[in-house]
Amino acid sequence: MNLTIDVAKCCGSGQCVMAAPEVFDQDDDGVAFLLDRTPPDTERANVDEAIASCPTGAITVVDG
């Protein structure tokens, strides 16, 4: 999985951090960033949940 976060769309809700804390974190302004740009397949379910629960649709899978 190759992920990307659209920081302009990110509203800092932290939904991604709650769903996949090994993959996502937030800076002090709440903007999400990737701890791992290419997370392992073991994180697939968590990442899917993170993408589905982002209220602004800021996370996309680039490929895979």
């Binding site: 302009a8 769309k9 509203c11 800092g12 809700s13 932290g14 951090v17 709650m18 937030q26 800076d27 002090d28 302004d29 709440g30 589905a52 209220p55 602004t56 649709g57």
Partner: protein, 391 residues
Amino acid sequence: MGTGHGGVQTGNALRRAGWSGPITLVGAEPHLPYQRPPLSKSCADAQALDEQALFHPAGHYDTLGVDLELGAQVVAIDRDGAQVELHSGRRLAYDHLVLALGSRPRPVPVAGCRLAGVHTLRTLDDARRVSAHLRSARSVVLVGGGFIGLELATVAARLGIRVTVVEVAPRLLHGAVTPVTGEFLTERHTAGGVRLRLGEAVDRITGVHGAVRSVLTVSGEELPADLVVIGVGAVPNCELAGAAGLPVDDGILVDNGLLTADPAISAIGDCARFPYGNRRVRLSSVQNAFDGATHVARRLTGGAAEYAPVPWFWTDQAGVKVQMAGLPAALHGGLEERFDVEGDVAGGSFSVHRYVDGSFVGGESVGMPRAHLAMRRRLAAEGASAVALAG
């Protein structure tokens, strides 16, 4: 019905839950479904608005097999016939109808509110109009110091425009945030050049040649204005439901599963009033629309738990992001409240924890997103709705 946060997430969540039947999103506006928070926050930049506001490109709905009926005004819900009637005369049959109709700006019957240059802000078209006007405006007056007014004030001040906010309550965001956070924001707005007129009401809006010229306050101050935005709350769009015989009371009444009195109709988001603790509440937030939609999708595909959300909200204003967890303070009003403040308020890195009758009910965080998530986890663990509400 509705192509806002509730409608879009209902479609997304149904497909994610594995439902493969037909889904149609019906929206009165002609635009591809878009998000409302950027309308006030990114108002200055028309291009940013266009880029950030859409939920998804058109192809997303094709891929999911979700039909869009845009620019489609529903004029009646025919419950007996299980169909909705559009303005065009077409009828759309349903097995289940989800009402995600949102809310609209509360109308303010002040003289002069129809002058050119006086706006409300709810839709993308509103935002584009305000954005265009901001380019030439020299004096902006925001009527109402709520989230819309303060976010727009921030945008205008950053453009170097003279901005005044007129708010009837004695302090900023009274009823939405604690006094600690209210004072912090007051200082930051003032430092950013926003003039605040608290405990003040508008007497009338004056104009010349049909265009706004100034706002007159009840105290007699005349505020020059070539752009006025009125944001004094929103009323739920529940008229169609009421006309169809569904119980409404400042919102479409639903049970704890978000089902109306009609087993084939659910209601979510701004337009729905649902049981929470010992009362019924109506929450206007992305969270409530999104989580309500997810809940209904689960319920329709076999899940049965009650809708027991952890409310959260955010605002971007005065150069900071304020994150809130729990219900707005106003809903706990009148009950004993204690605040615990941690961090550095002056430095803009702090958290306020709120307690009602000794129970944690939520709070605010600025520059501390981990503290905000911790509050939400705590509310989930302790039962967000367990605390009695005022009234």
